[in-house]
C-alpha cells in the first residue's frame, strides 16, 4: 500500500539475504580483502536555527591521496523542502539520496501532499537497515515542513537521531568543536550561516580528506537558498597557461583513406503509424 515505493516493497520482516550474499562473495577473493569502496573524506554539518535549517559541506572528493574532484556537490536535493548532506562512500550516498528523492516525488504526486522530513528519515532507515551496514552512507537530513524545522542524522546501520546541530564525515570532530562552542537555540540566519561555515572551515583545516570550497544550503518556509560556493578556498590557484590548442598545431605527415567494403545483407521497411 506504500504510496512512496516505486520498486516492489520487500516482504514484511527482516531480510538478510544480501548480507549472506556479501559474506559468500568475500570467500571468493581467496584471502585477499574485498575491494575497498571509495570514500569521500568529508566534513558536513547542519544547524537548526530560528526560521529553518542550514546545511554545509566541503567540496573535496579524494581517491586515496589524489583529489579526484575539487568541486564535488555533497548537498543533495531530496524534495523542495528537504536536502541531505552525505558522507561515507560517494556512490552509496549519491544513489541512496537519488532513490529517496525519486520515491518522495512519486509519493507527492500520488498523495497530493508535501513530503515530511520524518518520512524521508523512515524510508532511509528502512533501506539502510535492510542492508545491514553494507551501504556506507552517513547522512545529515535537514528540512522544513508543516511540523517544524528538523535535522536528523542517519547512520549506515540504520540508526536515526534527531538533533539541533550535527557534523559528520572524517572532519566531524573538528567541526563539532566549533558547533558545540557556538550553538544556541533560535539563532538568527546570519549567525547560523557563520557557525556552519566556521564548522566546515575547521574540518577543512584539520582534516586531509576535506578541503577546497564550502557549500551552504539554507532551507526555510519561504524556500531554499543553495549557495555554491559560499566560500572559495583561499588556496585556489589560477591556471598559468591556456591548454587549448588551435587546429594545425600538430602537423599531419601522411594521410591514408581505406574505404570499408560493406554489403547490404538484409533490408526491411516498417511503416510508421502516424495517424
Amino acid at each position: 500500500m506504500a504510496l512512496s515505493n516505486v520498486l516492489q516493497t520487500p516482504a514484511a520482516g527482516f531480510n538478510f539475504d544480501n548480507t549472506a550474499r556479501n559474506e559468500a562473495l568475500k570467500g571468493l577473493f581467496e584471502g585477499a580483502q574485498a575491494p575497498k569502496p571509495l570514500k569521500t573524506g568529508t566534513t558536513i554539518a547542519g544547524v537548526v536555527f530560528k526560521d529553518g535549517v542550514v546545511l554545509g559541506a566541503d567540496t573535496r572528493a579524494t581517491s586515496s591521496e589524489v583529489v579526484a574532484d575539487k568541486m564535488c556537490a555533497k548537498i543533495h536535493y531530496i524534495a523542495p523542502n528537504i536536502y541531505c548532506c552525505g558522507a561515507g562512500t560517494a556512490a552509496d550516498t549519491e544513489k541512496t539520496t537519488e532513490l529517496l528523492s525519486s520515491n518522495l516525488t512519486i509519493f507527492s504526486l500520488n498523495s497530493g501532499r508535501n513530503p515530511r522530513i520524518i518520512m524521508a528519515v523512515n524510508i532511509l532507515q528502512d533501506m539502510l537497515y535492510r542492508y545491514h551496514g553494507q551501504i556506507g552512507a552517513n547522512l545529515i537530513l535537514g528540512g522544513v515542513d508543516c511540523t517544524g524545522n528538523h535535522l536528523y542524522s542517519v547512520g549506515p546501520y540504520g540508526s536515526v537521531n534527531q538533533v539541533p546541530y550535527l557534523a559528520m564525515g572524517s572532519g566531524d570532530l573538528a567541526a563539532l568543536g566549533i558547533l558545540e562552542d557556538g550553538f544556541k537555540p533560535d539563532l538568527e540566519l546570519e549567525r547560523a550561516k557563520e557557525l556552519v561555515r566556521g564548522a566546515i572551515h575547521a574540518g577543512i583545516m584539520s582534516d586531509l580528506g576535506s578541503g577546497n570550497n564550502i557549500d551552504i544550503c539554507v532551507i526555510t518556509r519561504q524556500g531554499v537558498d543553495y549557495i555554491r560556493p559560499y566560500q572559495e578556498s583561499e588556496y585556489k590557484e589560477n591556471r598559468k597557461m591556456k591548454y587549448k590548442y588551435r587546429p594545425g598545431t600538430t602537423p599531419v605527415l601522411t594521410e591514408k583513406v581505406v574505404p570499408l567494403k560493406l554489403e547490404v545483407v538484409q533490408e526491411s521497411v516498417q511503416r510508421m503509424d502516424t495517424a
Binding site: 551496514g133 546501520y157 538533533v163
Partner: protein, 217 residues
C-alpha cells in the same frame, strides 16, 4: 581523523546503556540514560532517547545496537497497533513483550538488541517484562539492564520495596540511574524516565547536573 570500528561486539552505534523498570503501587516507572557510543570510545550522541512508546500505556527501553533496537521497536509498534485494531481494545503488556520476543528470537543470529517492556493494562495492572538478547521473556517486579546495570545490582536489590509510592519509586529509579552513570563509561547524559499509570503517562527528564550526587562527587 578516521573513526574506525574496533572489533567490538556491536557494529555501528551502540547504546551501551543503563535501563531499568520498577513497579510501584498503581503503576510502573521505566527509565534509561541517554548516551550512544561507537566502539566504546566515542560518544556519538548525548541525548538519545532509549525509552520508546510502543502503545498508549506500554513503553520499552532498548539496549544493544541502536540500529537493531530502533528497527525492532518500529516493527513492534506496527504489530501492536495492528493487533489492537483487530482486537478493538488496547494490547496487554504481555502482548508487547511477546511481539518483541518473537522478533528477537526468530532473528537471534542477526540481531543484537535487548529490551525491557513496561506498562499498564486493565487485566493485570502494572507489569515489567525483560526480553533478553536471545529472546527469553521473564516477568519481574523490577529489573535492570544494559552495561551499566552491573554496577547497581547491589543497590536495587537492597533498596527496592514492593508497593512503593510514585515519588519513592521515581527517586529509587533516579538514584539507580545516577549511580550507574557515575561508574559506567558508556552510560551517561540525562536520565529519561516515564511514569505509567491507569490515568496516563508522564515523562520526566532529569538533566545531568540535577542528578542526585553521592558522597565522593
Amino acid at each position: 581523523m578516521e573513526k574506525h570500528c574496533v572489533d567490538s561486539e556491536v557494529k555501528g552505534v551502540s547504546t551501551g546503556t543503563t535501563i531499568l523498570a520498577a513497579i510501584f503501587d498503581g503503576g510502573v516507572v521505566i527509565g534509561s540514560d541517554s548516551r550512544a557510543s561507537i566502539g566504546g570510545e566515542y560518544v556519538s550522541s548525548r541525548t538519545i532517547n532509549k525509552v520508546i512508546q510502543v502503545h498508549d500505556r506500554i513503553f520499552c527501553c532498548m539496549a544493544g545496537s541502536l540500529a537493531d533496537a530502533q528497527a525492532v521497536t518500529k516493527a513492534a509498534k506496527f504489530h501492536l497497533s495492528f493487533h489492537s485494531v483487530q482486537m478493538e481494545s488496547p494490547p496487554l503488556v504481555i502482548a508487547a513483550a511477546s511481539v518483541l520476543k518473537e522478533l528477537c528470537y526468530k532473528n537471534k543470529e542477526e540481531l543484537q538488541a535487548g529490551f525491557i517492556t513496561a506498562g499498564w493494562d486493565k487485566k493485570k495492572g502494572p507489569q515489567v517484562y525483560v526480553v533478553s538478547l536471545g529472546g527469553m521473556v521473564v516477568s519481574q517486579p523490577f529489573t535492570i539492564g544494559g552495561s551499566g546495570s552491573t554496577y547497581i545490582y547491589g543497590y536495587v536489590d537492597a533498596k527496592y520495596k514492593p508497593n512503593m509510592s510514585r515519588d519513592e519509586c521515581l527517586q529509587f529509579a533516579t538514584n539507580a540511574l545516577a549511580l550507574a552513570m557515575g561508574r559506567d563509561n558508556v552510560s551517561g547524559g540525562v536520565a529519561h524516565l516515564a511514569v505509567i499509570t491507569e490515568k496516563g503517562v508522564e515523562h520526566v527528564v532529569v538533566p545531568g547536573n540535577k542528578l542526585p550526587k553521592f558522597h565522593d562527587e
